[in-house]
Symmetry: C2
Subunit: 412 residues, 2 copies
Amino acid sequence: MKATIITIGDEILIGQVIDTNSAWIGKHLAELGHTIQEIVSIKDERDSIIETLDRAVQKSDWIFLTGGLGPTKDDITKKCIAEYLNVDLEFNEEVYQRIVSMFNRFNRKVSESHRIQSYMPSGGKILYNRMGTAPGLLMSKGQTKILSMPGVPYEMKAIMEDHIFPVLKNGYSQDLKVYKRTIMTAGAGETSIEDRLHTILERFPEYIKVAYLPSLGSVRIRLTSFGGSQSELDGYVSVITNILGDIVYGYDDISLSESLLNLCTSKELKIGLAESCTGGILAHKITSIAGASKYFEGGLVSYTNSLKHKLLHVQLDTLHQYGAVSEQTVIEMAKGALALLNVDVAVSISGIAGPGGGTETKPVGTTWICIANKQHHDAFKILGMKDRINNIEYSANIALNNLRKFIMRYYS
Amino acid sequence: MKATIITIGDEILIGQVIDTNSAWIGKHLAELGHTIQEIVSIKDERDSIIETLDRAVQKSDWIFLTGGLGPTKDDITKKCIAEYLNVDLEFNEEVYQRIVSMFNRFNRKVSESHRIQSYMPSGGKILYNRMGTAPGLLMSKGQTKILSMPGVPYEMKAIMEDHIFPVLKNGYSQDLKVYKRTIMTAGAGETSIEDRLHTILERFPEYIKVAYLPSLGSVRIRLTSFGGSQSELDGYVSVITNILGDIVYGYDDISLSESLLNLCTSKELKIGLAESCTGGILAHKITSIAGASKYFEGGLVSYTNSLKHKLLHVQLDTLHQYGAVSEQTVIEMAKGALALLNVDVAVSISGIAGPGGGTETKPVGTTWICIANKQHHDAFKILGMKDRINNIEYSANIALNNLRKFIMRYYS
């Protein structure tokens, strides 16, 4: 199946909102073996919408439209679809009643704009939206399906998951099959990985494409096979894994946190945190994964020296002599966290996230991390050279990866 | 000036990479008063590139192309531009020497692919790239400028900043001026806001466009004035602010955390947290903002009942009788946090983020929040209907907004 993805809204064109919907739709369609012809973002105005729709109809089996279905005045997508397909807008009682019952549940009042929102192009199929009031709408123009969805990402995703993927899975498998695997690595840079893989990659078949997708502290290696077979691709994944060794922490977009969840639950370990500069993001990364409570006890964000002393028992002398960002402090923080939180392994972090607070000897980005259990501790320093948000994210990823390596070393 | 932005690369179409380049270019062009006609992402294949270029030339003064200039095998952008403009590719000694000297500096070897990379369509202007090896390339087709840049975001940005923005600023100022303001609100839905503004917005001039940009727990109201003046637009912003009252927490993309930082430092308040279901994201949101240490003491992520009891002194009876997700528990958590962290105001959260853990009486998404100081406490329940990540994000935003309202009420 050939698809065109259209997002409607000035806010995307002028960069107020980054279009993540198209990437999500593209990713899922590609995984099902479909071809994305084009992704296009246009203004919410009649001429652009109708012209783009018409162009997409010429070359697509499916058109995925997002945006412009909310109860706002710049919401003209439905009108344009109706005009383009030469049908009327008609009041849909079922859509309206769903809004009424949803609002009743939350004790909120239905307004006139909800009545307007309930007008739909006639002849379309209404797709129930379990995440919001604006339903999806599926129309046809000749052989082409036109699917219109709200722009709110979780609403769009719910409609795709509930109504579209099941249908696509059954009916559209005659395209070229695309197989994908992603090798997840942490702790090595893109260039260093590339150097290690360079020779072997030249022997891979032409139809296997390799892409490096670096982010802070980790690199995803994406293999896409246009044709071939899944088992052939899996063989190449094993070859790469053998070359890269312990920087590979998993496959297929598993996060470091998920890999930690699996590792720690299999070893029945309880983990706790003492964060300073990362300010809670390490706990957040861990608890984003359902099931984290199986191994994560809790964490203290000790943003001040007095909390580091009072709750983690970091000695005032240590703070005074070496400073909060030092090897001595993170070791005491980690040991304090082991006791305070009653856990098997604790991670501590203290650094200078910036933009202020840097000195000659401890520039912005200097971060100390310690991983400890009752017998061992590994403390090390890293130096980010990025801004505050990136320093925080980077240190948290390094800490998670080193927690993983600590557990593999001492609990193998 | 009318612009079209084209990004080239399969990795965008199949969702491996989210296109942030277009948003960045769009934002900067819009700020300079230019109009973005369309953003389009296409495959790195000849027909798509040439057809899209030709369509863009028909309706644009400038075309911004990113992607497809690196030293990789699927790099055909330059070839297509040359073909489309009917010129040859010729070896550019200056480009090659720049690569050689850059690689010498890093003690790396220049390869054959760098020679290939140094072929450029003839007649183009080469734009030096201080961040990488692939330069930008500026060509013309009739009145239309075609600018081709590498897809690596910081390389694209360097070329735009060094070579393009200065030119655009000087040469293209006869366009319509665009003024923008954004009103930041939290605690009311899009529809409720629209209902309150509906009548007044009808009296605004036609050239002022209003868009609602909802996210979890907050709505940004963006006003864009195509023409008019900044002071006129500011007047309309005041009108809207007066109507909406205390749901307005700031302007122009300030975050709730930033607004809290300003509020709490001006009142010299110290804040602490006791998080359960939100798992540290509340602390992370607060500490993402530089200067948070002026008012944020710290937080405990008490993910288990035993930590809630041991450190926050939530009574075992309370946990047993009412459960961890209850009004009684969050009140005791907040009071415990006031003492443990020695702060003026504490926020506690306990909920069922999902996907598991829901019951008939406490479905997934049920979250209790309490804001307390020594004299007062406000505890309330919210009900998300979203998935784990969204429930966590939503509760954190509601908590931040209610902390803001608590402070405005009791410390005015």
